[in-house]
Structure formats: structure tokens, C-alpha cells
Symmetry: C2
Subunit: 739 residues, 2 copies
């Protein structure tokens, strides 16, 4: 690649990015878009005022001038502010960017200070013009390791840099792990009393011996007997699909009535009460709906009464105990003689629970996990063939062969259709496929039966990363499907490092472009929220002008964003030594990402749960995986470049990485998996000394009541849709958001 | 192989076995050998009478007639008797034999009922005389799978048998796991109050903040704060090598004085009191030794006083709590915010503790484990080269080249020497190498820093099995060192099943002979206890005629016997379908083994600890490993024999095994790793209701006092050597042993 090509490409992408950011800075000043760009703020304001927002459309010319004020506002808040406003998980997500910025900074300094001059002054490509021709290498390739001569002693510098970069990565990862661990500990120590601190999820409750008793009685008996001091109360889980349907119907009716009431009476046409509004006397639609509402409400009450009967019970319960110490003990020890019964674990936050999933019997979970794993692996392996299939469309002549002549003549030969099918459909389809993959993985993780959404997201995120690393990275590098790659790998596993070393450097240019087109472009798209923006626009101008600004509140979709970010971490690690040229591009990506996601976390995404940083251990392991990949690659690289001794001397590195990982696992991981008795006891003592203990216990007593059993409000004077989405525990932390 | 050859070989080995068993039946009737064959009984008698055994040498001609009475006596006791007399571990060990007998019985029926006729009536070997010639196959090979024609549909029967045998193995393993789990639960539920039920081992105690305080104070502070209700007392571990030396000296002196006192006064020559008995006035040796004894005793007391100072403290303690429930909670939860501090685990039984190992700092254990693993792998890989080196001796001419001419002429050319060096030295060296391997692994496992001997034995046993399976089985089958095998395997991993399938059937004859020579021969050697027998004989006739009969009490060396037995399980599984001929020989081995070890467990070995069957989960996993090996082998076998579809249809089997293993891990393993709150609470309630609680707590309070701190007895009127070896908790179970 020549400098001019790179500059052109970078110029176009930077221009586009600036354009998008400018658009954002204008759009965000329009009050009409507040529902897209200041969702969190509106949500809180709505809650405070308890009325639907009134539009105060104050148009000014200033609001049409692009500005960079949002950058300052995204940059300014310190970590503590973000912690307060969005919780530990959001901070952990941002720490990934900080880790990458630091790491890439080191790599860039080393890369351009040492490696680039070293590579540039060597003569391999000049000496081997044939190779230069074959891969059409340009001036820029002289900066990469490709230009190092065979067996050159200069490779020892690369070897030194490899060790240096590995050690820096360990050091930075360790610092992050320590920092995040401290954040988690501070969060746990400082957290206000919340129901999940006192509650244990009990699965696989055995059938009571006396057939007349219910599961609920059995829970009562068991915990009164074996945790006599600690046991406070419990809530069963019920089969609730019927009631859930009714409750949804109820919500729909409430919304309908709310909308009808907004309209002036003249617009409300009376309707007939009979079948499909065709027969019967004319009635006011509000009255009609109110009647229906009351009917549904009656049914709900009826069902809720029936729930208490044992036949609707699921052998799963939330048991609340008197102290955090008791919860820690109950959640972390084996309760029963049979380890498949009375299985306990920490209860997720009430807002984080996936209630329908709670009905899955415990003994199905094992089988479900296997099925989900098989399906996920299958999807990862057939992803590439699917993509290939879509790409066939690009070559229209191949497609034409398989279609009936009539279609080809009448449809495909129209120039516009042909252009559209060839030029846009494949790209669109690929984007759609890559967009639905995380959703499929999320459904699979949900199918596995995890009780909480956060857990499902974490699992989906790990599956998605395998798909990206396998299909985007490996497939691009080794140009083949994952099936063929893994086949050739199992045939000759010893050659893996060598084959990677041959293929990886050649794809550097592809990935530089990838960083610009996919990475940089992703950020403006993220901040523009193009989907929501268009929807919001359409709704405001077509369906209903009085529609509330705030239609939906989303939480940060970790299972979508995290794998992508980690994919760029992989690129950074792999190419840091091979091709220093990619580093500044990645650095820009991470700086952009840091700014954009800070902005989004502060103003748009409302956290749906708080796991206290449970994402980090998984990010950590995956980063270690990338480091090991890089190290194995260099074992092959040195041997390929004719310096066997350096190759041999690199073999300890993967083991070093493994040791580092093991050390972190011992040192930090238990803090993420267990709750220790020391800090739980301390918090209990604080409660007791402040005399708040009984108050706390009263507050949390009904937090885990099954949602189908909750009191149903018939008040239709507010839009309950957004209400329902507000996290239940958010009253504990009321963040102060700058707008 | 022809029938005649097999019969000859079997005849010789059976004859030898019968001879040895006859010898045993005679030897065991000699009172002089009681210390070898009825160690346990003597031990208990000694304890009861508190005097050294008097020899009542009642010679009768009957005692020289071989008899089979011991077989009946070994067979008669039911499992419950063995459980009472030797504990769960011994029963688990015997259950391995029962599992194998059942499994091999099924295999033998299927093998001789279906497979043997099926193989015999095929014609592959008759059609391919060249192959028959090449490997010198005889009539007996016609019974094996080697005689099945290429692509024959008969292989579908083998396929069915493979599934049937796999499923039977799962079923039998499941039955055993369930049975042993029940044994363990019964043992735990029925166990008398013992100190380990109430005690937790706390490692990595942090330095107290106040420098004047000791670790002991810190333990007190921490547990009083965070386990206020449960905490009872604690005992620190101390650096004790100096005192241990003094205590050994004390024991030596006591023994010496005891022996001197046994002699008539006339034989006790007065000695000089000065240097080396050369100068000074003449004194009575007893007085001299008594003086020394008192001096050492004074030193011990002095050291014991110093111990209480903090400088000798190790940051490890045994914390005793008031209830089993409390111990379960404390041992199984994370105590401190930092998971590397206040690390708790179940305390081993007092008799099971490896005190010197307790002084290893907790943060060294991670590194020690890595070093031990590296060394163990290294030993496994260089074992075969070592063996090859020894085998060089068999060819004396090669050796001669490397020795100086003088040695060759004067020493090696003597016929007797040459015969000895060629014929016996290699065999002897090999036996010695195979004998010391378990000891090396045991030292390695000890080096890893496990606090209890039982744990060390378990780890050593697993390492030893890898060595046997890798070096004896794989090396024999693929005829090469483990290094070359693993090299060729990593080069082409896909060919593993095929290569195994080619090589394994050919070695069947070798392993039939191996079962007879090593397996069968091992049993008489085990029951004869040749080593102890010879030592006992020599001692009685040379050193000291009045030497007590009972010199040493051993426990069953699991780390030696278990890997060997499991190796035969591997043989049984691998060859069950390939060559039914091996089955009866293995069956005999396991029946013999069952009888012999029953006898030994009842009469010879005194259990040194009780783990409640902790061996079983490891035996189970290793058996599953063998099953998977067999299944992979058959994937290759079917494809080799030209029935690709059967090969393909066998691929699910290893996954099925893995699923079965996972299920067992979920269902049973927690019972072996954790103590549940239900049963601990129940046992606590029983204690409380019976009013024995305080008595129990008083008994156990000082069970974990460091041995160097224990009260030292100056009473020399009994032989303390065997006293010391008697398990401390054996007073709880006094078995009724038939002699």
C-alpha cells in the first residue's frame, strides 16, 4: 500500500465521521430529538413531575450550528460521577477503552520509535522484488516486519519488544483488575440495603413428603429447621404465562384509554358495543374500554387468587433472610444431602430477573446448556458459508442460472433492479446477518436457563466474540471458512504458528481499512442512534403528533458492543509488533469510542441492572486469550524469518500468560464470585447499630414477589409503558445528570 | 498364539501362584510370623495388654500343612464388617474389584457367547496367510477381531456390543458411585463426634496491624469478630524442626532404655560416661541413658516454652468451632475481602496431618504445584528412555564397548558375573525403578504442600496412573517412547484412532502374558509380604531374639496399589471387545485381588486415615478416561476394518461418556467435596439433645495441638514406637477382628 492510498482512504473516513458528529451535535439540540439523545434525563424528569412531557418547542438559529460542546460534556465528568449515575458495569465497560488507550499508547511509542525505523532501514522487500510484486506491496509495507531480512539479528529487537509488550499488557491488565476489584468492593461496601443482598435463589425444591403440603410449605419447613435464626420469608415462583398475557392486555387497554383521554371529546367517535363494533348500541369508546379493562382486571385478580394454590407452583423460590451474613452463608453452601436438591445461589436483583426463565426446572438446565452449546458452535461454523452464499448475489450471472428464465428476463434485466440486487442487497444482508447474530446468541443464552438477564448477556457476549474472532479474523487471515481452517489445523497442529505467521502480516492493510470503515463508522452511528432517530421522526410526523417524546428506554446492549470492542483489542494485540501502522488508527478508534460511549452512558442508556463489574473477569480472560494468540503467532514468525533461537526463546511466553491468568484467577476472581463473611458482617453491624434493621427488612420483604402477583393499578392517568421500564431500585441512587 | 503355548504359560503361572499361596497358608500359621500377617490384631492386643507380647511358640505338625482356610476367612466378613474394621477407604478400594468382576463377567459372557464364535467363523486370517505369517498369528487369533473380513457386516454386531458394553459400564459405574456415596453419607451421619468435624484449617493469616500482637492474637480477634457465636478455640502451627529432632532423640533413648531393661543385669556392661565411652568413670548404661534422657527432656520443655513466643509462629492455624454447622459454614465460605488471606478449608483428621508440610507458606503453594507438575510430566516422559538404558545391559557386548578393557577382561568375562549382569541386573533394576516411581511421585505430591497425607497419596496415585498408562500401555502398543508417540500424535492427530486400532489388537498376547506374570504374580507377593517376611526372619535370627514381634505397622499404600489395579481396568476395557481371550485371565486377576486385599485389609494393614471414600471420584474419572480411550479406538477400528458407517456412528460415544461423567459430577461430586448444612445441623441437634455437647467440645479442644507441644511422657516401660503409630481416633471404633 502506498501512502497516498492510505491517506485517501483515511481522509474519506475522517470526513464522514466529522460529518456524522456534526449532524449529531445539531440533532441533539432539537427538542424533538430529546427522546433519542437525552432519554435518561427525560425519564427522570417524567418521574419527578409524574405527568407526560409538554413540548416546549423553542426554536433558535443557534441550534442549527454544529458544535463540539458535547465532547466537553462527555469528557468532563469524573469516574465517580459515572459510577453514581450508571453503576459499576458502565465504568467497567469504559475501563476497557482506558486499558486499550494506555496499551496502544505504549505500543505506538515503541512501534514508531523503535520498530518502524528498524523495519524501514532493512532491505528484504527491495532484495525480493518478486514477492513485492506478487502481493503488490508498496512503500508502507517497508515499515512492517515483512521488510526484515531472513535470519536478521534485528529480529532480536522484535523479540525484546514482544517480551516488553507482553509484560506491559500483564501490568496494565493487573492494574485494571485491581482497580475494578476495588470499585466492586467499594460498591458492595457502600451499597444501600437492597433486597438482593438478603435474598437467595433456591432451585430444585423437592416434593414435600406429605402430599397435601405445597412446595411453599416445604421451603418454610426446611429453612425454619436448618436456618432457624436467619430465615425471614420466601416467595415462590409460579407458572404465570396466562396471567402475563392478561397483564399485557391490561397495559394495552390502559395505554389506549390514556390516549383516548388525551384527545378532545369531539374526535372520539362513539362505537358500537357488539361484535367487531358492527352491532349493538353506540357507546363512548372510553367507557367501552374501561369496561373491558375492568373485566380483564377481574380476571387478573381471579388468577392471582388461584396462584396461591399449589398446582401453579414451580419448585423454585426466593428466600429472604435476616442478615447479609446469613444470605452469604446460605447462597454459598450446599444445603441438602442430595446436591441436586435445594440448590442455592445469589438472587439476582429483582429488576434483573428473567421471570419466564425462572419456570425452567433445574434438572433441564444441564441438557439445555448442552443443546445451546451445540447450536452456538454450529452457528459459529456455518456463519462463513452463509456469508459466502450471500456474496454469490454480487455476481448476478451465477444467480441467473438458477432462476426461471421468465424472472430473469422480466425482473433481473431491468437495470435498476440488477444494480440494486448486485450492489446493495448483499451488503444489506451481511449487515443484517451481523446484526441478528448477537440476538440469536442472546436467545440461546436465554434458552440455557440463566435466571438473570445480566447473566444471559454475559454468555451471549462470549459466544459472539468467538464468532467474530473465528469468522472475521481467522477467516480473513487464512481466507477460508472456519470449518476448513479447523480441519487443516487438526491435520497438522504443529504448523499452526507458522501458517498464522505467514498469513497474518499480509492482511494488515485489510484490517487498517476495517478499523476505519467498521470501527470509526460505528461510533457516529452509535451516537446518532440512527434507528431510534428515524423511528422518532416518523412517529412524530405520521402516527400521532401528541405521542410522548420518550417512547422506549434502552440499556447499553453489552452483548452487542462488548464483542466488537474486544475484536479491536484482538487486532491491536496481534498487529502491535507486526505492523505499527495500524496502531494510530486503533488508537483513534478507542479514543472516539471512549468519548462516544461516555456520552451515551451519561445521557442515553439507562442501566437495566447492576452486576458490580461481573463483565471484567470475562473481558480479562478473553484479552489473555488474545495475548496468547499473539505470542503463539510470534513463535511461528521468528521461525519463519529464520531466527529459530528467538522462536524457541518465545515458547515460555504463552505459559507465562497462563501463569499470570492463574494468578489473577486466584487473587481476584473469588471477589467476583463469592461474598465474603467479613464485609457482609460489617454491613450487618452498621445496620444494627443505626437501628435501621427492621425498617430494611420490611422494605425488602416483598421485593421478590412474582410480578404476576403484584397489585394491579387501574389508574390510567399516566403512560405506564415507560414507568414500567424504570429500574425498581433506582430510588436508592438518584444520579445528577448534566444535560 | 497357539492354544498349547497359552496353556503352558498359564499352567506355569497358575502353578507358581498356587505354590505361593500354599507357602502363605503355612507361614501364617507360624507364630513367629504373626507380626507380618496379623499386624492389626497384634497391635490391638498389645494395646489392650499394655505389655510387649510374650512368645508362646506352640509348634504342631498341622501348622506345616498348607490349607485354604484363609480364603474362607477373607471371604466371609460382610461389607459392614470391613467398614467397621477398616473404614470407607478400604471398602472403596475393594469396590473397584467388585466393579471389575461384574463388568468383566458381562464382557466374558458377551465375548464368548457372541463375539468369539462370530470372529472364529470368519475367514480373514485364512484368506490372508501373508499377514498371518508376518505377525506369527496362531489359532487363538481366530477368536479375535483380527479374523473379521474387511467391510464385513459382522462388524455391526461388534458395534452393538460396543454400545452395550459402554452402557453397562456406565450403569455399573453409576451403581458404584451411588453405593459409595451412600456409604460416605452413612459414615458421615453415623460417625462419632470427632475433632475434624469441628475444625477448620486457616491458612495465610495476615500480619496483625499492631506489631506487638502475634498471629494467634489475630486469629482470636478475627474469629471472635466474624464468628462470634461459633468460635471456640484455635491452635497455631509452629516452626518445629528443632523440637522434632529432640523428640526423635527422646524416643530413641526411651527405646534404648526399654531394651536395656529387658536384658538381664549381667548382660548390661557398664560404660564410661566421657567422650564416646572412652573416658570417665564407669556407670550403668541405663543410668547413663536416663541422664541423657532427662537432659533431652529438659531441652524439649525449654523449647516448648519458647514456642509460645510469636517468632516461631507460622501464619496457619486450626480453628475449632462449637458446632459442625459452624465448621461447614466457615470452611466453605470466603472469610476475608482479600481471597488470598484467611483461606479456610476442612481440617484433615489429626492423625492424617503432615505437620512439617503445614509450615509451607500459602503463597508458595501455587508455585510448588507448578514445579511439581513440571517434574512429574518430565519423569513420565523420560521413564521410557531410562528403561531403554537399563535394557542395554541385556546386551552385554554393547556395554563392554564403553567400559575400560581391564574391567571387561577381569570382571565381565567371568561367566557367573556375565550371566548375572545380563540375566538378573536389568530385571532387578526395572523392578526397582517401577518400585521407586510411586515414592518419587509421593514426594512430589508432598512437595506440592497438601496438608494431609491422604491428599498427597491421592495426587501421587493419579500421577502414577498416567505413568503406567503412558509408558507401559502406550509404549508397548505403539512400541516407542512417550516422547516419540506424542510427537507423532501432534503431527497428525486425526490419525490417532486409526493408528491405535492398527496397533492395539496385535499386542493382546503380550498383555495376556502381562496379566499372568505381573498381575497374578503380584497377588501372592502381596499376601506373602516377602519383604517384611524376610526382614522379620533376619531380625529374629540375627539382631535380637527378644525383639518384639510387631516391628512396624503399615497402612495400605493406595498410591502404589491403586494405579496398578486401574491399569488392569484399562486393559479390561480396551481388550473386552477386541480379544475376548484376555477376559478370563483378567477375571481371575480381579477375583484373586479381591480375596487377597480383603485378607490384607482385615489382618495386615492398619488404616492411617479415613477420608470417607475420597478416592472414588478419581477412580471414576480415570475409568471414564479408559472408556473414552476404548471408544476412540473403536472409531478407528471400524474405519480400519472398512465399515465407515459404523465408525461414524460410534463418534457420539465419547461425548456420551463425557455427558455421563458430567452428570455424575453434578449428582455425586459435591457430596465428596462439601459438607451440607442439613446433615451437619442434624448431627449437632443430636449432640445437643443427648446433653453430650460440652463433653464433646472438651474432648476435641486439644486434638490439633502441635505435636511438638504435646506433653512428653518419660515412662520408658513400654515400647512407644508402635504406640505412636496407632491412630488416635481408633478408640472410637474398636473393630472385632477374626484371627
Amino acid at each position: 500500500m502506498e501512502l497516498v492510498e492510505l491517506a485517501t482512504s483515511a481522509g474519506i473516513n475522517i470526513g464522514l465521521a466529522i460529518l456524522f458528529f456534526a449532524l449529531y451535535s445539531v440533532f441533539r439540540k432539537q427538542h424533538a430529538n430529546a427522546g433519542v439523545y437525552f432519554t435518561r434525563h427525560l425519564l427522570r424528569e417524567r418521574q419527578r413531575m409524574k405527568v407526560a412531557g409538554e413540548e416546549k418547542d423553542s426554536f433558535s438559529l443557534e441550534s442549527l450550528v454544529p458544535s463540539a460542546g458535547w465532547v466537553k460534556r462527555a469528557w468532563d465528568p469524573i469516574e465517580e460521577d459515572i459510577l453514581k449515575s450508571s453503576g459499576v458495569d458502565a465504568v467497567v465497560f469504559l475501563r476497557v477503552f482506558i486499558f486499550c488507550m494506555r496499551f496502544l499508547m505504549i505500543c505506538t511509542i515503541v512501534g514508531f520509535g523503535i520498530l518502524a525505523p528498524l523495519n524501514f532501514t532493512d532491505t528484504y522487500l527491495a532484495d525480493n522484488p518478486s514477492e513485492k510484486e506478487e502481493h503488490s506491496y508498496g512503500t508502507l509495507e517497508k515499515l512492517t516486519i515483512l521488510n526484515i531480512s531472513f535470519g536478521s539479528m534485528r529480529l532480536w529487537i522484535h523479540f525484546g519488544v514482544l517480551y516488553f509488550i507482553s509484560l506491559s499488557a500483564y501490568a496494565l491488565l493487573y492494574i485494571e483488575f485491581k482497580h475494578i476489584t476495588n470499585l466492586r468492593l467499594e460498591y458492595l461496601a457502600g451499597a444501600l440495603p437492597q433486597p438482593d443482598q438478603f435474598t437467595v435463589l433456591v432451585q430444585s425444591i423437592p416434593k414435600p413428603e406429605n402430599e397435601e403440603l405445597s412446595y411453599s410449605d416445604n421451603v418454610d419447613y426446611f429453612f425454619r429447621r436448618f436456618h432457624p435464626i436467619e430465615y425471614l420469608s420466601h416467595h415462590m415462583v409460579y407458572k404465570s404465562s396466562h396471567v402475563t398475557k392478561l397483564l399485557n392486555e391490561l397495559e394495552r387497554l390502559k395505554l389506549k384509554i390514556f390516549e383516548l383521554k388525551q384527545k378532545p371529546p369531539s374526535e372520539r367517535k362513539p362505537r358500537r358495543a357488539g361484535f367487531c363494533g358492527l352491532f349493538g348500541p353506540l357507546v363512548d369508546p372510553i367507557e367501552l374500554h374501561m369496561e373491558k379493562l375492568e373485566d380483564v382486571h377481574r380476571q387478573v385478580r381471579q388468577c392471582q387468587m388461584e396462584f396461591r394454590q399449589k398446582k401453579k407452583e414451580v419448585p423454585t423460590a426466593f428466600v429472604t433472610v435476616r442478615t447479609r451474613w446469613g444470605a452469604a452463608v446460605t447462597a454459598q453452601t450446599q444445603q441438602s444431602v442430595n446436591p441436586m436438591q435445594w440448590v442455592t445461589q445469589w438472587a439476582p436483583e429483582p429488576r434483573d430477573i428473567d421471570w419466564p426463565n425462572m419456570e425452567i426446572p433445574y434438572n433441564q438446565i444441564f441438557i439445555r446448556k448442552i443443546v445451546a452449546a451445540v447450536l452456538a458452535i454450529a452457528l459459529t461454523f456455518i456463519y462463513y458459508p452463509i456469508v459466502l452464499g450471500v456474496k454469490v448475489l454480487e455476481n448476478l450471472d451465477t444467480v441467473k442460472k438458477y432462476l426461471p428464465q421468465v424472472v430473469v428476463d422480466n425482473v433481473l434485466n431491468i437495470p435498476a433492479v440488477s444494480f440494486f440486487v448486485q450492489g446493495y442487497v448483499p451488503a444489506l444482508l451481511l449487515a443484517v446477518i451481523l446484526y441478528i447474530c448477537p440476538s440469536i446468541f442472546f436467545s440461546l443464552s436465554r434458552f440455557e436457563g440463566h435466571p438473570s438477564v445480566s447473566h444471559q448477556e454475559r454468555k451471549a457476549s462470549s459466544k459472539m466474540f468467538s464468532l467474530l474472532a473465528g469468522n472475521i479474523f481467522l477467516a480473513a487471515v487464512l481466507s477460508g471458512s472456519l470449518i476448513s481452517i479447523s480441519e487443516s489445523f487438526t491435520e497438522d497442529p504443529k504448523s499452526i504458528p507458522r501458517r498464522l505467521a505467514e498469513a497474518v502480516p499480509k492482511q494488515a492493510n485489510f484490517f487498517i481499512t476495517y478499523v476505519m470503515t467498521t470501527g470509526w463508522a460505528g461510533m457516529p452511528l452509535e451516537i446518532l442512534q440512527s434507528g431510534s432517530l428515524v423511528l422518532n421522526f416518523l412517529k412524530r410526523h405520521t402516527v400521532d403528533k401528541n405521542k410522548p417524546l420518550l417512547d422506549q428506554v434502552y440499556s447499553l446492549p453489552y452483548y452487542r458492543t462488548l464483542p466488537t470492542v474486544l475484536f479491536f483489542v484482538l487486532l491491536g494485540l496481534v498487529y502491535s509488533i507486526i505492523n505499527p501502522l495500524i496502531l494510530p488508527f486503533l488508537l483513534i478508534y478507542f479514543i472516539l469510542g471512549y468519548l462516544v460511549f461516555r456520552n451515551q452512558i451519561l445521557h442515553v442508556y439507562e442501566p437495566a441492572y447492576e452486576t458490580g463489574g461481573q463483565y471484567w473477569p470475562e473481558i480479562h480472560s478473553r484479552t489473555i486469550g488474545c495475548i496468547v494468540f499473539m505470542q503463539v503467532l510470534f513463535i511461528g514468525m521468528f521461525s519463519l524469518k529464520g531466527l529459530k533461537s528467538a522462536s524457541f526463546a518465545s515458547i515460555p511466553l504463552p505459559f507465562l500468560s497462563w501463569l499470570f491468568h492463574e494468578h489473577c484467577r486466584h487473587r481476584f476472581l473469588p471477589i467476583f464470585h463469592n461474598f465474603n463473611l467479613e464485609s457482609t458482617m460489617k454491613k450487618d453491624l452498621v445496620d444494627e447499630e443505626s437501628g435501621r434493621k427492621d425498617e430494611v427488612l420490611n422494605t425488602i420483604r416483598d421485593a421478590y414477589l412474582h410480578p404476576a402477583l403484584r397489585y394491579v393499578d387501574l389508574n390510567v392517568d399516566q403512560n405506564s409503558k415507560t414507568q414500567r421500564l424504570l429500574p425498581e431500585s433506582s430510588s436508592f441512587v438518584e444520579p445528577d445528570i448534566p444535560v
